[in-house]
Assembly symmetry: C2
C-alpha cells in the first residue's frame, strides 16, 4: 500500500480535533504541539551516511515541524532499532550532539532488537509549546507568500553525493545536517495566516497550502532565495531547486510585510499554483516535489 | 549493541527532568504523561499474528504505560512501515477498532515506505494527563505490595500458540488482545507510593520497583492472582506464570489497604526480592522475566 492510500484510511479512524484531519505537520492540543517523523535507511537517508548525520537529521526534521507551528521544543522521545554496535554508538553520540546543539532534552522512548541485516527504522516524537500554532488552511486572498531560509541547498547536496559519496562542502552539509529554523518559526507564527516547513519541495508545499486554504497561489520564481553555493549549483534551473525538497525553510502567508523573510508570491481567490519566471508565466513542471508512495 | 547498553548510553545524553532518568514507563511533564513503545515483527509479535491483533497490542501496551501513571489518554501518534497491502489494510482496521474500543483518538504520526520483505517496525506514542503520576522509586518499608489484574494468562497463551498456531481461547486472547487497566490505574494512582504495569514478568518488575526505591520486596507466591484458565494451564508452576510477562496487570505499593487489588507481599528495608511459597522461603529462579537484549 502507498503512504497516500494508508493516510486516507487513517483519516477515517477516530481523530482528535488537534490532529487537524492529519493534514498538518503536527498535532496541536491546547498550547502543546506534537509531531512524529521516521527515517528509514535506504529510503530517507543513504546507508553510507555517517550515523551522526542520520541522528542529526532525525532530530532536525522533527524540530522543523515544531518550528512551523512556532513552538518552543520541550523534549523528544526516540525510537531506535538496534544493529551494528559501532553504528549504534556513533548514532547515539550524534543524537547527543544534536540535542545539545538544538537545545532540546531527551524525554524517553524505546529501543528494540531487530532482525539482522534489516534496514534501520528510526523514529522521533518531538513535543513543544506554542501560544499560536498556524496551520496550512489559513491563507487568505490578498496575503503575500513569504519564505524564510533558502531553497535548493540540500537537494544540490544530495545530487552531489549521488555522483560522489565522498563529496563535502556547504551543500552536502545542508543535506546531512539541516538546521531547523526554531527562532524564526517562533517569531513568524503570530503573523502567519498559514505556515509550514518546506520538506518535500517548495512548489509541492506551496500547492498544499493553496489546497488546504481553498485559494490560489502565484509564485514568482525570480524571487525564490537561493544561497550563493546553491545558486552556483542550480544555475538557471530554479525549478530544479524549487522541487528538490529537504530544505526545512519556512513557507508562510501573511497580510503585511514580514521581517526576516522574502516575499516570493501572492495569494488570490481561485485554486492551484501559478508560476512566473522572468516576468512571464511558466507552465508547472510535471513533478512539483517529493511525492510519498 | 544490546538494549541495556544503548539505554546506558542514552542516559548520558541531555535528559529532561520528566524523563525520570529513563527508568520509568513514561515521561511526565507537569500533568502530561508521554510514552512510546515499538513492536517489531518476529521480536514482539509473531509474523503469523493477525494484523488486527498486532494493532490492538500496539495500542494496548502503550496505554498500559499510561495506566501505570494513572493517566487519562488524550491521543496517540502512530509510526507505520508499509508492506503488503492486505496486511496494511487489516492493520489500520484493527487500529481503528482498538482506538474505538479503548476510547482514544489518533493525533497524527508518520507512515513510511520500507524495503521489501523487511520485518515490520511499528511504533506508537501515547499522550495522557494525570494529576498524580507515581514512579517506581516511591516504595517505602512497611508498604504492602498489591496487584491489580491477573498474572500468567498471556504467557500461557503464547506457549499455546508456539505449540499450535491455530490455538484459541481466553489465554490466547489475553496474549493477542491485552486490556490495559485504564480505570484501575486512574483510581490507584493517588494511593500508590510506586506503580508500574507488569510487562516483562511479575518478578522482574517487582525487582525493578525494589531497586528503584532502594528497598527489599517480599512476595508471597501463594497470593499471586491467576485467572481460572491461567491456573489450569500453569498448575503448580506459579513461578512460570510470575516470570512469563505480557500481563499488563498493575503492580503497586501502598501504605494502607487497596480496594480492587490483591495484596501479594510487603516492602521492607534492605535490597532485592524474596519469595515465599506454601509458607516457606523459595530460592529466586535464574530468570525473573523477560530481559531485553
Amino acid at each position: 500500500m502507498t503512504e497516500t492510500s494508508l493516510l486516507a484510511m487513517l483519516r477515517r479512524l477516530p481523530l482528535h480535533p488537534g490532529a487537524r484531519g492529519l493534514a498538518d505537520d503536527a498535532a496541536v492540543i491546547g498550547d502543546l504541539v506534537v509531531t512524529k517523523d521516521m527515517l528509514v535507511e535506504g529510503v530517507h537517508y543513504r546507508a553510507d551516511d555517517p550515523p551522526g548525520d542520520v541522528a542529526w537529521k532525525l532530530v532536525a526534521v522533527n524540530l522543523s515541524d515544531l518550528a512551523a507551528k512556532g513552538a518552543v521544543p520541550v523534549g523528544v522521545l526516540s525510537g531506535i532499532t538496534l544493529g551494528d554496535a559501532a553504528w549504534d554508538r556513533a548514532f547515539v553520540e550524534g543524537l547527543g550532539a544534536a540535542l545539545t546543539r538544538m537545545d532540546v532534552p531527551l524525554l524517553g522512548g524505546d529501543t528494540v532488537a531487530a532482525p539482522a541485516r534489516q534496514a534501520r527504522v528510526l523514529s522521533l516524537t518531538a513535543i513543544g509549546r506554542s501560544a499560536h500554532a498556524p496551520d496550512r488552511a489559513g491563507a487568505v486572498a490578498g496575503d503575500g507568500v513569504w519564505l524564510c531560509g533558502t531553497i535548493g541547498d540540500a537537494g544540490a547536496g544530495l545530487r552531489m553525493l549521488e555522483r560522489d559519496p565522498a563529496a563535502t562542502g556547504p551543500l552536502v552539509a545542508a543535506y546531512r545536517r539541516p538546521t531547523p529554523l526554531m527562532a524564526d518559526g517562533q517569531r513568524l507564527a503570530a503573523t502567519a495566516t498559514a505556515m509550514m516547513d518546506v520538506s518535500d519541495g517548495l512548489l509541492i508545499d506551496a500547492a498544499r497550502i493553496a489546497e488546504a486554504s481553498g485559494v490560489a497561489i502565484d509564485i514568482d520564481l525570480d524571487m525564490v532565495p537561493l544561497s550563493p553555493a546553491g545558486s552556483a549549483f542550480w544555475g538557471d534551473d530554479v525549478v530544479g531547486a524549487a522541487t528538490a525538497g529537504d530544505d526545512y525553510a519556512l513557507l508562510l502567508t501573511a497580510p503585511g510585510a514580514v521581517a526576516g523573510a522574502v516575499r516570493i508570491g501572492s495569494v488570490r481567490a481561485g485554486t492551484g499554483l501559478r508560476l512566473t519566471r522572468h516576468g512571464a508565466p511558466l507552465a508547472l513542471p510535471q513533478r512539483l516535489g517529493w511525492l510519498h508512495g
